[in-house]
């Protein structure tokens, strides 16, 4: 385990509709502006401190479905133990669908483990379309 991975937090990610992201997607397609607006997770200042992650630094969110690296941002309105991120190609990378557990995919309330990381933000080109591995 690297020094980055020695700190981690279990948290619930709440996704929301972001008009700025939608506008970017419509106007410019899935590109650099989309990535800048979508690859973000808002965390409580306490959680950022516990993780040892600075404002704007990368944090990895992962669960049994997948893993992504996002830019961590501080927001005192966010409750510790939760994170807020816009619904996007990034959030669906962590979304599960198991009809034995629920009728609908788990788009809105996603359980993850957050870990500080030295890796770069996941490029959106890795997440969109194409034949997936």
């Amino acid at each position: 385990m690297s020094a980055f991975e020695s700190k981690y937090l279990e948290m619930v990610i709440i996704t929301y509709h972001d008009d700025f992201l939608k506008v970017a997607e419509i106007k410019e397609g899935v590109g650099s502006l989309y990535e800048r607006l979508a690859a973000v997770v808002w965390l409580s200042p306490d959680d950022l401190k516990l993780l040892g992650v600075g404002e704007g630094k990368p944090v990895e969110l992962s669960n049994a479905i997948g893993s992504i690296v996002l830019q961590a941002k501080s927001n005192p309105k966010v409750k510790p133990g939760t994170g807020h991120m816009p619904f996007s190609l990034y959030s669906v990378r962590l979304t599960s669908y198991d009809p034995a557990k629920g009728k609908l995919p788990n788009f809105k309330r996603i359980e993850v483990i957050a870990v500080p990381t030295g890796r770069d933000i996941t490029p959106v080109s890795e997440l969109e379309g194409g034949k997936l591995a």
């Binding site: 700025f20 939608k22 309105k77 009809p99 629920g102 809105k108």
Partner: protein, 408 residues
């Protein structure tokens, strides 16, 4: 200036004005950022979809021919999307599904479906948005932040649309409230705000029902009941937050609205994002008795096993025709993998992750700008889209008619 109905979201704002010069929009009035972005993108050749077969650019004719071939060879086809298409296109798609013995489904089957069905059956009371203005005393947004999902909703149809609104000195005529799991732009202007823990909407409804039935309720449940008692006409605008918190099961919510209706006229309007989801659900129900998840293989069958998600999860499909939708942007990863292993035909006016992944892309004219047609708004009212510009692309309806003709 020409009038235009905006298809940027489910609000279908009908006061948009555009100035067209040489078949190109040069001025847009009244549209929100999302609506303006859509018109801008449709006028930008770099954002327009092109006809592709196996990612090679081809003529429209060749793309349609390839789509015909894939559909005629398919043993287990499915038609998906249509929530951003006109009623005329939807009717053609249903006919095509019938002819092919295909499954047909839309995004309501994993979002607003059950809520819309309750409204269509009349087991939940609905009303038109035109009735809301100046009449409703309580406007409750539940799991919805319209300032992002439907940017002009408050201004055009609810809180700020009331006649007495005056920038110089306005006294609110209605109470604006919301039920949310986080602070939003909406919650800052609401009073009161019911802030729930994520996924606790069901518990909140149970608390309120318990209080109404004579039991003890939380302070929040009491405040909620007082709001409805104080209003003669109340609206609940239901968003995705509520849909996913209840996991699509609206039984308890329907019971709550029934109980609230003892005190006040309480109506429900779904905050659908796609501009004609209600139209698809209504039309399919007229033709089959079901709003979604229908199979035409050997007659008409319906059930969750015919949902797009289940068909994908079980790997049952060999060809998917996607019309005006972008499931590669929204589906969970496991389902996207299965979709990428299926033959995909996509009808789209803009480039999306789905057009990038599809085997066949047929570029289309944009409804509401380059061709007209009928659509159904979130409140169930029928709206006419008008054509403002000529298009080099065929409409979705024309393409489906050609696919239908060849597959009869």
């Amino acid at each position: 200036m020409a009038d235009l109905v905006c298809t940027g979201c489910g609000s279908l704002c009908d006061d948009i004005q555009v100035q067209v010069e040489e078949n190109r929009i040069v001025v847009i009035d009244n549209a929100c950022a999302k609506g303006a972005a859509l018109l801008y993108a449709l006028g930008n050749p770099k954002r327009r979809a092109t006809c592709l077969v196996n990612r090679e650019e081809v003529s429209s004719e060749k793309a349609i021919e390839e789509a015909k071939r894939l559909l005629s060879e398919s043993k287990r086809p499915l038609i998906f999307g249509l929530d951003n298409s006109t009623l005329e296109t939807q009717a053609k798609a249903i006919s095509l599904a019938q002819k092919l013995g295909a499954v047909i489904d839309d995004a309501s089957s994993f979002s607003y479906g059950e809520l819309i069905l309750s409204l269509l059956k009349g087991s939940l009371p609905g009303c038109s948005l035109s009735q809301v203005k100046d009449r409703a005393g309580l406007l409750m947004y539940w799991g919805s932040n319209p300032l992002h999902s439907h940017p002009r909703h408050l201004a055009e149809f609810s809180y700020y649309s009331y006649t007495e609104y005056d920038i110089a000195g306005w006294v609110p005529k209605a109470t604006l409230s919301c039920i949310e799991v986080r602070d939003t732009e909406l919650s800052y202007i609401c009073n009161p705000v019911f802030k729930l823990s994520p996924g606790k909407d069901r518990e909140f409804i149970q608390d309120v029902l318990s209080l109404i039935k004579g039991g003890n309720g939380t302070e929040e449940a009491k405040t909620f009941c007082e709001l409805f008692k104080a209003s003669r006409f109340s609206l609940i605008f239901c968003g995705r937050g509520l849909v996913y918190s209840l996991n699509g099961d609206f039984g308890l919510f329907n019971e709550l609205v029934g109980k609230l209706s003892q005190w006040t006229r309480s109506c429900v309007i779904p905050m659908v994002d796609d501009f004609n989801m209600l139209g698809f659900n209504k039309l399919l129900r007229q033709k089959t008795g079901y709003i979604n998840q229908v199979s035409f293989a050997g007659g008409v069958s319906h059930g969750p096993e015919f949902s797009f998600l289940e068909q994908l999860r079980k790997g049952l499909l060999d060809c998917v025709l996607i019309v005006g939708s972008a499931p590669f942007s929204t589906l969970p990863l496991s389902l996207r993998r299965n979709l990428s292993n299926t033959r995909v035909i996509c009808l789209s006016s803009l480039i999306t992750p789905t057009t990038k992944a599809a085997d066949v892309v047929i570029a289309t004219a944009a409804p509401g700008l380059e061709h007209g047609g009928k659509v159904v708004k979130m409140d169930g009212e029928e709206v006419n889209l008008v054509k403002v510009e000529e298009s080099a692309y065929p409409s979705e309806e024309d393409i489906l008619e050609r696919l239908l003709g060849e597959n009869r």
